[in-house]
């Protein structure tokens, strides 16, 4: 064979030497002060708006609106302050929070324990799961009268309501999570010859933690509401009792004050759960939160 003449041509085009970089003067980062002023303005706008609505409410109540239907904001705040200084608020809040804490802890621990057990014993798990799903379908609120017959008007009924609410949320979330551990983790466990106990403790439980955290975040405010609802239907203490008593007495200022307390309670619990999660679970990818 004779020499092959290549027909490929490569031409090179080098860009001209770029002169030494000078810092661009025109584009300066926005000074933080201006950004802070923007934020202050927005906050001021919201404060002004809410203030105006409250002022309009204040002025119209008793003039155009029957104060028996809608109390004045000033009256609501006065009532709230009254509860604070007399210790009423602490007395009732203590009851609600105690029921909430005991119910939540018991429910979360029992639900998680059962979920681990059922995930480790798949046959038992499959058998029992159907009952848990059916029971979850029963509206617990409709059962409060039954619980009152069983447990009376004391704190036990409220704890049990809280318990049931957390139980189903946490059980379903953690059972699902434990049964569906990312197969890559299980493969790693197999390659590294981890035993059954290690596979549970060092792989599957950890992998379930983000799902557990979401369940807790969902369950905490829901449990608070369940406890307050149980207090509606038979109690002589608690925030729910404050609400229902005010309603019976047509004391709108107290009623609104109690609503304010419940709202604040649920909000604080939601925020606290979210803050705790982002503090403790820094390793969880953002999209899973």
């Amino acid at each position: 064979m004779s020499t092959i003449v290549s027909t490929v041509v490569v031409s090179e085009n080098r860009p001209a030497e770029v002169p030494a970089a000078e810092p661009p003067a025109a584009v300066a980062p926005q000074p933080p002060r201006r950004r802070r002023r923007g934020l202050a303005l927005r906050v001021l706008l919201h404060v002004g708006f809410v203030g105006a609505v409250l002022a309009a409410w204040e002025v119209s109540s008793g003039r155009w609106i029957d104060p028996l239907l809608l109390s004045k904001p000033s009256e609501v705040l006065r009532q709230l302050w009254d509860w604070i200084v007399t210790g009423h608020l602490v007395f009732h809040l203590q009851f609600t929070l105690t029921a909430l804490a005991i119910g939540f802890l018991l429910g979360a621990v029992v639900a998680f324990g059962l979920a681990v057990l059922f995930a480790e014993l798949p046959r038992t798990g499959r058998f029992a799961e159907i009952y848990i799903i059916v029971f979850n379908g029963i509206p617990t609120i409709a059962l409060i009268p039954v619980f009152i017959v069983w447990f009376g008007f004391g704190i036990e009924t409220k704890i049990f309501m809280g318990f049931l609410t957390v139980f189903f949320i946490v059980f379903i979330a953690s059972f699902q999570a434990l049964r569906n551990t990312d197969s890559r983790y299980l493969e790693l466990a197999r390659v590294l010859e981890a035993n059954t106990w290690q596979r549970l403790v060092k792989f599957r439980l950890w992998a379930a933690v983000p799902f557990l955290a979401s369940a807790f975040k969902l369950a905490l405010p829901a449990t608070a509401l369940a406890v307050v609802t149980a207090e509606f239907l038979g109690s002589n203490r608690g925030i729910g009792f404050l609400l229902i008593r005010a309603s019976n007495l047509l004391d709108m200022a107290s009623l609104f004050a109690a609503v304010l307390v419940v709202t604040a309670l649920v909000q604080i619990l939601t925020l606290a759960a979210a803050a705790l999660e982002s503090r403790l679970l820094t390793w969880v990818p953002k999209e899973k939160k």
């Binding site: 890559r184 983790y185 493969e187 790693l188 197999r190 390659v191 590294l192 010859e193 981890a194 035993n195 290690q198 060092k202 792989f203 950890w206 933690v209 820094t282 390793w283 969880v284 990818p285």
Partner: protein, 270 residues
């Protein structure tokens, strides 16, 4: 001078033949798909001497990953027999396994991930952290010991995975496209690292790849597989040139020829 041997490596039943680290005897594997039985592997026999770097090359569907998973003990073959000889640190698995998507545990730091195999087999805390730290330094990640996987780049995560697979000094290192998701420069630096550590520990390495260049660059021996059912097509042993063979070395006539032959074996643009 690079030389090339085709076919099974000459079997000399003499005293100086190294014991095989891996023997695969007539392995076949079939699994049930929706309606039919798919035969993934048929009649695979291989003897791999200790310390050899072998690449399994083939198109997708040729069963190379299935074969690797069988070697890793993740799959039990439906026919034939495999034996993996040799051992790592006492009481630890004798196989290491790395894949394209690293299986690092996101809740553990790089150091804790590397120490995990030792932790699972009862190595004391101080010793396992010392070993893990040494290996992390070996793969150039001494500074990243306390970072978690999500804080590391893809190449760094792959380094951690390599360190984890080597921390217990397994006799055999199994790799399934470990460099597939990385850019060229990261890949080349990991090639260097892998060959250094492999030589240092005398590890037998099996690499599954579809990249012919990568296989020729790294291997002592290349086994090509044909698809459906997966079976061995060619078996090439390269000797007489240092590894990794960089792109200029791959232009060597013998190696260029080998790459062409492998591509022809596989029958298409691999």
């Amino acid at each position: 001078m690079t030389t090339l041997a085709t076919g099974s490596p000459p079997r000399v039943d003499g005293a100086d033949t190294p014991d095989p680290a891996i023997s695969v005897r007539d392995v076949g594997h079939a699994f049930a798909a929706d309606t039919a039985v798919v035969e993934a592997l048929r009649g695979i026999s291989l003897e791999i001497p200790a310390g050899q770097f072998v690449s399994l090359v083939g198109k997708s569907g040729c069963g190379k990953s299935t074969l690797l998973n069988i070697l890793a003990g993740l799959l039990t073959p439906t026919g034939g027999e495999i034996t993996v000889h040799g051992s790592g640190l006492p009481g630890l698995p004798n196989r290491g396994y790395i894949t394209q998507d690293t299986r690092l545990l996101p809740w553990r730091t790089a150091l804790q991930n590397v120490a995990l195999p030792l932790e699972l087999h009862g190595v004391g805390k101080k010793e396992r952290l010392d070993r893990a730290r040494r290996l992390l330094e070996r793969v150039g990640l001494g500074d990243a010991a306390h970072q978690r996987p999500d804080q590391l780049s893809g190449g760094m995560r792959q380094r951690v995975a390599i360190a984890q697979a080597l921390v217990y000094e397994p006799a055999v290192l199994l790799m399934d496209e470990p460099f597939g998701a990385l850019d060229v420069w990261t890949r080349e630096s990991l090639h260097d690292l892998l060959l250094d550590v492999q030589a240092e520990l005398g590890t037998t390495a099996i690499l599954v790849t579809h990249d012919v260049g990568e296989a020729v660059s790294l291997s002592d021996r290349i086994v090509t597989l044909a698809p459906r059912p997966g079976r061995i097509l060619g078996d090439y042993t390269i000797s007489g040139s240092g590894r990794p063979r960089r792109h200029d070395a791959l232009r060597d006539d013998v190696l260029a020829d080998l790459q062409d032959r492998i591509r022809r074996d596989l029958g298409a643009d691999v």
